[in-house]
Symmetry: C2
Subunit: 497 residues, 2 copies
């Protein structure tokens, strides 16, 4: 893959000086167009051999364009990032639509470096490559333009470069023992990089290898490619994605998960008070377990309007120190959130290690309201199932206890609660026209919920369906389940310790 | 993922009898439509728990439709299939456009079974899952409709079924010790299956889980899903795929791989005769090495018209026993081949272990002539690079020595050879109008060739560029390279032995 980047590419100063002014002007125009249309984020990854001009190119592209619409990210472990699943750092740094984000050291760096240093096996590298392909596929599905630059130097060019730096007293300090140590790993680095680049050069996001020896050549090349890629992207009219898949079906006997729930289950007030005290006490103790600091907890509440999500949440938080949890109520996305891939607004709220976040509605909106109301295409919500499963797997792999509740009430019970809310003054704010409109789509939602449970209830992150016609029963089932899940996770940690 | 398939779904005989006639008629109509339009192959995978009605469903769907346009494949190791890379068996069985192929035991079976039996690690399963996702993505990109049925039984339902079969003297023979042994693995099987289904439920090819207890329910469900999937696919008008990727660029200094070749290299006739004898003898010896029977060899010849592919090939085959090699001249695809994914026509010609195949032009036509002549879309040839790399990796992993030659001549030398061919009677058949037309696109081809080498010359399957202005030089370089590559592979086998 590197043959063409070892030919000794270079261009003259005269050519360079003649070309750059027009290129800069065109880049600025393309950047303005990008920002005006706001339909695509541009993600530029900069990787390659040390000394091949990665940093210089990033600086130059910033100088050529309007730096107010470019963000440059240098990625690495910090005490903060280590508190989150690995991909969190990249999600946090994604540029919104209309902007450019440059990643100097990207999601490719850790897997390549680990493998070069012999700290990971080939199968582990391949697993990372698989995850990266999924991630980039999601990004391009969300409209991003990904440009992956790899700046290359041949081994000989690298050696010459280090020698030249050492010879000159003014630059000698730039060459350290570490540089020569890394030079010794050149062949290994080249081999691992080639493998990684080959496996991640997809049709949507191919690697572009650029020879780094001549600064003029590499800068002009990178600038031109960036320009043409942006121009091409801006010319494209959005096409509805063609989804070949068979459409999801309602069971032909109309028997679904809800039919097997015993909705008549109740708990009387006296027993409720006793049980609540028991489980709130237990939850409080669990969160004060020393090992709890190695966990994080995410609780997801979904359910029909008036199913009692708020009440159930309050019974949980009642047991907790307010400094230790956060409730994230999820409504329509903000303008900032709409300019990002849809999972972005949930990534930004996931708890750090030892934290606890309660989502009052969640990322499942994609396959519920957005599906039913047709806010997104069938292709979008169909791919969301696997994107969500990938997301949740990353959370669970980072020691997150992920507890997902669907609160179920009958259609009659919902009507009763709606009417009650309209009658009682202080509850009137809780009922809107929209609630009544949603109610008309009851059957569509029920189908969407069953598909959701079928496709996202996994061993690592199962759904708990909660029979919620009786509020007491629902609240106890919720807090009890939460206690059990945290307890299991703590026991697992104890066994590992 | 299996919750909804453990609810005890069933439908009455009356409902079934009332629905089936219309369903059969509609299925036949959809099948006729599929065959008439010929734009899509339908691939049905049937997997799941033993006794959940996999075989019965396959039989029934065949009975309901026109079996002349359905092929059923039961997949497993045979002495023949073991001679080829694992996926060969599936490629061979793929249905052409307009037809239906049912796979009873598919590419999912071996990875799941290996993992359940503890013969593979989780990372290895995940590697298989990654490969499967790539394969299915390629199939849907090529227009295939993939329907993946998973027939499920709960553990309890499975136990009841086995007990019932044992109780009845007429069916007792059907339950063997093996069945009960497999029953003991139920939990493991369920866990591995869930993981695999979750990771391979893509938007384009999601799994459809069907409860298998009630034959009427499962048959009617499968039939209806198949019907609606086919109807939906037939309604879709093809959309040009939207390729977001940056366009590939010509180096701005117009320096390419060919500029670094020394085209003046020659070998005089006397030296040629000596060297040819030496390397033909060596090649012959190498192919008679006992370890050669563990290898297979694929040699790919690409190059401009009149670059001397035929002559170079004859110097290789001159050293070989005609029973031991095959030459595959690649021209425009036949009608049968056009009805398949484009790599299909090459998979059918790959050699079994110990075999040797010489491709006179190859799968690289996709990124050469098909790209230059716009026979396929940019998205198609862009994705071809990674599809080809995947394909070649499978070959190499199966102990195939893959040697790829690009024979380079200068534009002037081509003109000289064209004119010579037109003058000399017995060579006149070798020059056509098309050759002259291709020559006009010389520059486009050169760009395509450089991109091809950059994106598909890998450590496991490198390109060898052959300076071919002098035929003697080219022929020696080719046969010498081939000898070296086989020798290296044999040495590797010796070290392993």
């Amino acid at each position: 893959m590197f043959e063409s980047a070892e030919l000794g590419h270079k261009i003259t100063k005269a050519t360079y000086d003649a070309e750059v002014p027009a290129l800069r002007e065109a880049l600025l125009a393309a950047q303005f167009d990008l920002s005006q249309k706001g339909k695509s984020a541009v993600i530029i990854l900069v990787g390659g051999v040390d000394g091949a001009g990665k940093g210089e190119t990033v600086n130059l592209l910033n100088a050529w364009m309007d730096p107010r619409h470019i963000e440059v990210h240098v990625m690495g472990d910090t005490p903060e990032t280590l508190q989150y699943p690995h991909m969190w750092r990249y999600w946090r740094a994604l540029p919104p639509k209309g902007k450019i984000g440059m990643f100097f050291g990207s999601w490719y760096t850790p897997p390549i470096v680990q493998r070069v240093l012999g700290k990971s096996k080939l199968v582990e590298l391949n697993q990372c490559i698989h995850d990266i392909n999924q991630f980039e596929k999601m990004l391009t599905n969300e409209g991003a333009l990904i440009i992956k630059f790899w700046f290359h130097l041949s081994k000989e060019a690298q050696r010459v470069r280090l020698n030249n730096l050492e010879k000159d007293p003014k630059t000698r300090w730039r060459v350290t023992e570490l540089d020569w140590q890394r030079f010794k790993l050149y062949n290994k680095f080249r081999k691992v990089s080639e493998h990684t680049l080959r496996m991640t050069s997809t049709a949507e996001a191919p690697w572009i290898v650029i020879e780094g020896t001549d600064p003029r050549y590499r800068s002009l090349t990178a600038g031109r490619i960036l320009l043409q890629a942006m121009q091409k992207r801006m010319e494209q009219t959005e096409l509805a994605s063609l989804l070949v898949a068979p459409p999801l079906q309602v069971p032909i006997d109309h028997l679904d998960l809800f039919d097997r729930l015993d909705m008549a289950q109740t708990i009387n007030d006296k027993k409720f008070a006793k049980e609540l005290e028991k489980y709130q006490g237990k939850l409080n103790l669990l969160t004060r377990d020393p090992l709890f600091s190695q966990l994080s907890v995410i609780t997801v509440f979904e359910g029909a309007d008036a199913a009692g999500k708020g009440g159930a949440i309050r019974r949980i938080t009642g047991a907790l120190d307010a400094r230790h949890y956060r409730i994230v109520p999820v409504a329509a996305p903000t303008e900032e959130e709409r300019a990002q891939p849809y999972l972005w607004r949930f990534w930004r709220h996931i708890p750090a290690t030892s934290g606890m976040t309660i989502f009052d509605r969640s990322w499942y909106g994609r396959v519920l309201v957005e599906r039913v109301e047709k806010y997104c295409s069938e292709a979008d919500w169909m791919r969301a199932y696997s994107e969500i499963n990938d997301f949740e797997e990353q959370l669970v792999n980072h020691n997150t206890v992920l507890v997902k509740f669907w609160l179920t009430i009958s259609k009659e019970e919902q009507l009763r609660r709606f009417q009650e809310r309209e009658k009682i003054g202080f509850k009137r704010f809780k009922i809107t026209e929209e609630d009544w409109r949603n109610r008309e789509k009851w059957d569509d939602y029920e189908i969407a919920v069953c598909d959701m449970v079928d496709r996202t209830s996994t061993e690592i992150a199962p759904w708990t369906l909660v029979e919620a016609n009786d509020k007491n029963f629902a609240r106890i089932k919720v807090i009890k389940t939460l206690c059990q899940r945290i307890e299991t996770a703590l026991e697992k940690l104890k066994r590992q310790a």
